[in-house]
Amino acid sequence: MDHKDLTKKEPRAESTRNVPQVTPLVDIYENDDAILVHAEMPGVTKDDISVNIDNGSLTLTGVRSVVRGGASEWEEFGDVEFQRAFSVPQTIVVDKVSAEFKNGVLALHLPKSEAAKPKQIAIKAG
């Protein structure tokens, strides 16, 4: 038998991630002009959040690494990956979507296109 076989490492069939994925809690609001999405991601920094809109699907991702130090007496939360996906209507103007992150809450503003806004039809006197 070839000795090389003893040390050679085959790539694993599947690599597991030890960071658990959780679903952030969200609030969704709508009016005639826009849709708002507020998602809770405590402990995530602004740079670790990604917001993607692709082909009518909106994906929010945020990775949190808890700052540890010293001996742990108890730990009720740890490193997680917040992830949630929504389908958004085609009437959203993707270029004008804005996002803000404050106090651990991500606020998305998704404006609707002019064509999608409700219009009042004036009735002419006959």
């Binding site: 038998m1 076989d5 003893l6 050679k8 490492k9 085959e10 694993r12 069939a13 599947e14 597991t16 030890n18 658990p20 959780v22 679903t23 952030p24 809690l25 969200v26 609030d27 969704i28 609001y29 709508e30 009016n31 849709i35 708002l36 507020h38 809770e40 991601m41 405590p42 402990g43 995530v44 920094t45 602004k46 808890v66 700052v67 540890r68 130090g69 010293g70 001996a71 742990s72 007496e73 108890w74 730990e75 009720e76 939360f77 740890g78 997680v80 992150f101 106090n103 651990g104 809450v105």
Partner: protein, 148 residues
């Protein structure tokens, strides 16, 4: 059957994978359950971590959406109480489609492993995480024992 050691190796890898999944089973179960709405009187909101760093304790709590005016922290000896009020209201002119976060008032009291000096406690709030740094009281501090 197994002609190469690497075949065996791969089989053990697969077994190790299975074992690590079982190892994580309980913690994962706990993690996801913790992210269900947890307001309803379970008494564990906000969730906290406590670390001991030599002569001080550091308490970290998850408080998303709260500003510093919404939070109240009381310390006496080794008793710590975190209370607060969260108001989530629909922005003016918007209808709510989905409300998972909700408004609530909460109080959580914790017993620290040792007494802390309440005058020297400092608190910071950043990205929805509250960090309390609590120096231990003189009596609880570790002491160097000199050997004669």
């Amino acid at each position: 059957m197994f002609t190469r050691v690497s075949d065996l190796d791969r089989m053990f890898d697969a077994m190790g994978l299975l074992r690590s999944r079982f190892d994580n089973l309980f913690s994962e179960f706990d993690q996801t359950a913790g992210y269900e709405p947890r307001w309803s009187g379970r008494g564990n909101y906000p969730r906290t971590n406590l670390y001991e760093k030599g002569d001080q304790f550091e308490l970290v709590a998850e408080v998303p959406g709260l500003s510093k005016d919404d939070l109240d922290v009381k310390i006496q000896g080794n008793y710590l109480e975190i209370s607060g009020k969260r108001q989530v209201t629909a922005p003016a002119g918007y209808r709510s489609h989905r409300v998972e976060r909700g408004s609530a008032t909460f109080t959580r009291s914790l017993t620290l492993p040792a007494e802390v000096d309440s005058d020297k406690v400092s608190a910071t709030l950043k990205d929805g995480i509250l960090v309390l740094t609590m120096p231990k009281s003189e009596a609880a501090k570790p002491r160097q024992i000199s050997i004669k």
